[in-house]
């Protein structure tokens, strides 16, 4: 049992130790950095708890002793001295060694008693030191002020609007009681006349009275500075105010931990377990079903009085559904942010120079989909770097800039997400693809000459197609493409592709926003109702019986010069009827829904088209999960269950 946790324990401990070291360095630089102190305390405290649980006594003892000292420091009962920093560094090193021992599974030989006693000693020194060092919080200096980029932006904008940047130092009277509150009041009063950008110490510390008698405020105002000064001087317990205009100096990079943009922190985000979101979504689905049911009843019984209410309910539940959907969405940046690194490594590996541009990474996707598309995207990017973009020398030879360009562009349109991965490399060699296709006997020579973009994509997406060694130009182009395609298809999306020789290749992924609630067309086949995802539907047509032709024993129809195979849903699902009966019931006309999967089209015969509707996808339980042609089920307004067609597996 212990062993299974050991691994986790070690990784986490190392993480904490790293953090402790980082914070110690910060505190050494700025002893008043309370955030870092709190952070160290938290880390050491957690480490202690973890070690105690695992039964690592030495670790527990040492971290416990450190915790005591840190607690004094963070409660400001004790001031941070270089001596204390030193002993903390020594202790941390020892902690590291102890963890290392555990990692190597060695019996512990380290002696921690010396460090522990010096920690204790430092802790006990407290009393005398405290008296000496009280009130030694250094007075802030007007000189040492640095801005962050963000603050600089604000300042520049305000200056452009005629604001004056100033800094002022406020001295409170030494008799001042509750100086924190007084400082707060100074700030409130100043904020009536100016916009405060920054304070030293930071606002939280000011409010808690963690300063000596003076503090510095930096702000923007349109008022006369002397007027500001007088206003503040007017306040009780304010002894002196020094105010001066400030010039913008160049930003220095090292000044990030004194920033506090607002002094009243608001809770802006809440963490919710994903499970709960799923439950909410599920309930939402039930609600929609109930709503549809209600709407149907109202229509059926023609209850006018209820119509308006129902209309409002409909509108509200749609908005609610949208909002809930939003909570499930995560910016695609979540996966795209790792891509610069991936591309850099890949490019370096292949000795290529590549510029990656990511556009639209703020666009949000359902997290289920997000989880699934990471790998396909990496495949596409790898392909582009590996095979699409040429080496710098090659590129120079044909007059391209030596640096290749890779663009990942995300767009959101009509409830769908489009992700384009494009490179400016050599493009797919269509001729080579045709040649291989013919050689492999996939198409005849005549057919090969007529192959369009779509068919080429289908070819290179065939598993194993590209492994052909003969055609080096396209070798690898198909590696993983079959995986990409089937993944996208299984998500109910589409993969498209454009390529021009020497200009580059572009893959386009079209994905649904979410998988839980989709728009579908309800159709009747005999007495059964089926739902066809609207995403897959290209068009619906009515045909005469005579328009159905036979091609090699398969029924096909011709739509605008395109030959489309026909599937009789009633036959497919064993709801068999006699041919005569079928034609009779449709008055000689047959309704056909033309659906698309990947780049292919398929005609489905149905008896009646019922209309469009939002449906809630309920996955099927495992024993009927793999039924061919069925992706799931949904409950209709009247409580009936309708099966959702899986176009992919119908063919």
């Amino acid at each position: 049992m212990q062993d299974s946790y050991r691994e986790i324990f070690i990784t986490e401990s190392i993480e904490y130790l790293k953090n402790i070291n980082k914070c110690l360095v910060r505190i050494e630089k700025t002893p008043s950095d309370l955030d870092s102190l709190n952070e160290i305390f938290r880390c050491v405290h957690t480490l202690k708890g973890m070690s105690a649980t695992m039964g690592f006594d030495k670790l527990t003892q040492l971290s416990h002793q450190m915790e005591d000292l840190l607690d004094e420091l963070r409660n400001q009962k004790k001031r941070v001295t270089s001596e204390i920093i030193d002993i903390l560094f020594v202790s941390t090193d020892l902690l590291e060694k102890l963890v290392e021992e555990i990692r190597l599974n060695q019996p512990s030989t380290l002696d921690i008693s010396e460090v522990i006693s010096s920690l204790k000693e430092t802790l006990d020194k407290k009393e005398e030191e405290k008296k000496e060092e009280k009130e030694v919080i250094p007075e802030p200096e007007l000189k040492d002020i640095e801005f962050t980029e963000e603050e600089l932006k604000v300042i520049r904008n305000a200056k452009a609007e005629g604001f004056l940047l100033f800094r002022l130092k406020v001295f409170l009277s030494s008799e001042c009681a509750m100086k924190g509150t007084r400082a707060y009041l100074v700030i409130i009063n100043l904020e009536k006349l100016a916009k405060i950008i920054k304070s030293i110490p930071k606002l939280e510390d000011l409010e808690e009275g963690k300063f000596n008698l003076s503090f510095i405020l930096i702000g923007l105002t349109k008022h006369n500075l002397e007027f500001l000064r007088k206003e503040l001087m007017n306040m009780v317990e304010v002894e002196e105010v020094i105010i001066e205009e400030m010039a913008l100096t160049q930003p220095s990079l090292s000044s990030s931990f004194q920033v506090s943009p607002s002094y009243i922190k608001k809770i802006e985000t809440v963490r919710i377990p994903v499970e709960r979101l799923d439950k909410i979504m599920n309930l939402m689905g039930e609600l929609i079903i109930a709503k549809i049911r209600l709407m149907q009843l109202i229509q059926y019984y023609k209850i006018e009085a209820l119509e308006e209410v129902a209309f409002t309910l409909d509108r509200l539940s749609s908005s609610l559904q949208d909002e809930i959907m939003q909570t499930r969405l995560i910016p695609i940046a979540y996966i795209l942010d790792t891509f610069p690194r991936v591309v850099r490594d890949l490019a370096k590996n292949k000795n290529k120079e590549i510029d990656l541009e990511v556009i639209g990474s703020g666009i949000e996707l359902d997290r289920v989909i997000l989880n699934e598309i990471g790998d396909p995207l990496i495949h596409l990017v790898r392909n582009a770097v590996d095979h699409g973009i040429e080496s710098p020398e090659e590129r120079k030879k044909i007059g391209k800039p030596p640096k290749g360009k890779l663009i990942i562009k995300v767009l959101r349109e009509k409830g769908q997400i489009f992700i384009e991965v494009s490179d400016d490399g050599r493009g797919v060699d269509f001729e080579a693809v045709r040649k291989v296709a013919v050689e492999k006997g996939l198409v005849s020579k005549e057919e090969a000459d007529k192959l369009d973009n779509k068919s080429i994509l289908d070819l290179i997406c065939l598993p194993g197609f590209s492994t052909t060694k003969k055609i080096t130009d396209i070798s690898g182009r198909g590696v993983g493409l079959d995986v990409v395609k089937s993944k996208i298809d299984s998500l109910g999306g589409r993969l498209d592709f454009e390529s021009q020789p020497n200009k580059g290749t572009k893959f386009i992924l079209a994905l649904p926003l979410t998988l839980a609630i989709i728009k579908a067309m309800l159709v009747k086949v005999r007495d059964e109702i089926f739902a066809i995802p609207l995403m897959n539907i290209r068009e619906t047509i009515k045909l005469d019986r005579e328009q159905i032709k036979f091609l090699q024993n398969f029924e096909v129809i011709r739509v605008r010069d395109e030959i489309i195979p026909l599937i009789r849903l009633d036959k497919e699902f064993g709801l068999l009827s006699h041919e005569e009966e079928f034609t009779k019931s449709t008055n000689g006309k047959i309704s056909v829904v033309i659906v698309e999967y990947g780049q292919k089209s398929l005609g489905l015969t149905v008896n009646q088209i019922l209309g469009e509707q939002d449906i809630v996808v309920k996955p099927l339980t495992s024993f009927i999960k793999k039924t061919k042609g069925i992706a799931g089920a949904t409950v209709l307004g009247d409580g009936k269950v309708a099966l959702i067609l899986d176009i992919m597996s119908l063919r």
């Binding site: 009681a177 707060y184 009780v236």
Partner: protein, 128 residues
């Protein structure tokens, strides 16, 4: 010269405050010993300024903070001076956020109280 209402649950404090203020020439137009009473009397007398003890027992579900909030709701221009014992930082902050204009810490020197009151009264004039 202003009309001032004194709010404190201790009679002793009310008297002391009243004496200091009267000596400065101010008029004590009302006194209140609970938060609820303070709100009612504010509405009745509309004083120029209120001194409010922030640490008062919760009576009828209202304490000093509640009183500040209620009065500010009734009269957004109300001028309230908080009187608090040491170390009631959070309470005083709350009162300030609720709209109180300044605070004085007990025990205070009369001069300190007068300075705070004058400051509030004068800043109010400018706003008008």
């Amino acid at each position: 010269m202003a009309r001032i209402m004194v709010v404190d649950d201790a009679l002793f404090m009310r008297q002391m405050l009243a004496n200091i203020l009267k000596a400065e020439g101010h008029e004590i137009c009302a006194e209140a010993s609970t938060a609820k009473e303070a709100v009612e009397k504010y509405k009745q007398f509309k004083p120029d300024l209120v001194t409010m003890d922030i640490v008062m027992p919760m009576i009828e579900e209202m304490d000093g903070i509640g009183a500040v909030e209620e009065i500010m709701k009734f009269d957004p221009n109300a001028k309230i001076l908080i009187i608090s014992v040491m170390a009631q930082h959070a309470l005083v902050l709350k009162a300030m956020q609720a709209g109180a204009k300044d605070f004085v810490v007990k025990p205070f020197k009369p001069s300190r109280l007068i300075a705070a009151i004058n400051h509030i009264l004068s800043s109010g004039e400018k706003q008008k």
